[in-house]
Amino acid sequence: MKVLVAVKRVVDYNVKVRAKADGSDVDLNNVKMAINPFCEIAVEEAVRLKEAGVATEVVVVSVGEKPCQEQIRTALALGADRGVQVETEGSVEPLVVAKLLKGVVEKEQPQLVILGKQSIDGDNNQTGQMLGALTNMAQGTFASEVKIDGDAVSVTREVDGGLQTVKLKLPAIVTTDLRLNEPRYASLPNIMKAKKKPLDVFSPADLGVEVTSHLTQLKVEPPAERQAGIKVASVDELVDKLKNEAKVI
């Protein structure tokens, strides 16, 4: 069984991103970039399926400018076999990413496609579901457990009320939640080996997709500032403040 994993290059999760003073966009000058944490979990899950003898090949794909090859290499160092970059310019909306991924799905014919549930830059939480609609595949979103079972996959999903389990016909789509696994670290020898693994580059035109834009970002701004608070010296003072000053209890 072939597994396709979609990985996105994003700002590292430790970076506190700010709006530029003129509000035109966020300031990403010289900030550390990394593989989206949910995508790292997706890669780990695919590699574990391979180690368990369930998957035969793990292909990673990223849509973006040339530097996203770094994140593809990271995924290869974590154990993926082969990389695909779809080379685009600027930021690409989830619907277009989904269309491009559909093109890759048609080329690669994977039985399982694993994506993150959400990219931590745009916080969209859309791409996997959109890919599901475009390919008419079933989706197990926000997965905390994935079990392949013949020609189906059982996915336990983290939902508002608790956990839900669904059974999906393969080929299917899974999007990862935080509890699915704990990704490993890439070892130095594996980082070296990853440099030699194959990485193909396609253009959107190769995949028959036109890159369109449905949304325009008019401006960005910082969120409302909270007024500085105070430290209280004791539980008594806290209770007094909550009762008599804030009047919330």
Partner: protein
């Protein structure tokens, strides 16, 4: 102009999140219909018809929709939604699961998690874990939108008198099935709707110690939440996680106990009216957003607080 709001429900009760979505929909300035997709969900249709400001309720009652499987429900919404300018749902796990599928079927973008409606085509939404608010304009003729419920007041659940119509459309994609669920049982208010929330983090040390929050929650009528670290460590279940990738809450009072205040946690609670932090590390970042900070060992402070409430 017309807007279709997708009802969030469990086949018997309309979930309050729908009421926040209705308020966001009203800001779009169009007539509002509600779609109730489910199985044996007639009672929900009646509740939806009572919501103030709603024109018409469409009820699609079919076994295929009983568990809100996205593969089936998205086909229904795309068909029914074809006649509307806007399709709106609360950004619950259900809304997040289904709506992008609807958007792709209709070949339009989705605008996720909006916190404000600037005009019929322009919206505000948080990005980068809420460190930045983006204003986005949609060029699509049809808008598919999910709504951050904490950013909009609830519409009145009573006072409306919408007509109720059955929708016959049956869509069973036949590619997914519901196997089972483990839903948390609790007498406490729902996390996203509670007016007081008390959350524990890694500092709680284990699941047993979360009982220290119970007595306080009882006295305050609070819901109990947690940081990701507490959930990952298995102290408490996933549905209690507050944050960028968990639940977004904005109660009148939020008490963070043994939580350091990582940006991903703040993303889920910093719009609370009053924030209290109890942490033994006086430099913990949580104090930067706390209205009242108490530097103390939680194992001493919590029993004392319970006693004094």
């Amino acid at each position: 102009m017309s807007t279709l709001v997708i009802a969030e429900h469990d086949n018997s009760t309309l979930n309050g999140a729908t009421l926040n979505a209705v308020t966001a929909a009203q800001a779009l300035g169009a007539d509002i219909d509600i779609l109730v997709a489910g199985a044996g969900c007639g009672a929900v249709g009646e509740q939806a018809a009572a919501v103030a400001g709603v024109n018409k309720v469409l009820v699609a009652d079919n076994a295929a929709y009983g568990h809100q499987l996205a593969e089936n429900v998205a086909l229904l919404i795309a068909e029914v939604g074809a006649g509307y300018d806007n399709i709106v749902a609360a950004a619950t796990t259900n809304g997040k699961n289904t709506m992008p599928r609807v958007a792709a079927l209709l070949d339009v973008a989705q605008i996720s998690d909006i916190i404000a409606v600037e005009s019929a085509d322009t919206f505000k939404r948080p990005i980068y874990a809420g460190n930045v608010i983006a204003t986005v304009q949609s060029a699509d003729a049809k808008k598919v939108i999910t709504v951050r419920t904490t950013a909009f007041d609830a519409a009145a659940a009573e006072g409306g008198s919408a007509s109720v119509e059955a929708v016959g459309a049956a869509h069973d994609a036949g590619i997914s099935e519901f196997v089972g669920e483990e839903l948390a049982q609790s007498d406490r208010p729902e996390l996203t709707a509670a007016s007081v929330v008390i959350s524990g983090g890694r500092g709680m040390q284990n699941g047993e110690n979360f009982k220290l929050l119970d007595g306080i929650a009882d006295k305050l009528g609070a819901a109990i939440g947690a940081s990701r670290a507490a959930v990952d460590a298995g102290f408490v279940p996933n549905d209690m996680q507050v944050g960028q990738t968990g639940k977004i809450v904005a109660p009148d009072l939020y008490i963070a106990v043994g939580i350091s205040g990582a940006i991903q946690h703040l993303a889920g609670m910093k719009d609370s009216k009053v924030i209290v932090a109890i942490n033994k590390d006086e430099d913990a970042p949580i104090f930067q957003v706390a209205d009242y900070g108490l530097v103390a060992d939680l194992f001493e402070a919590l029993p004392e607080l319970e006693g004094k409430l």
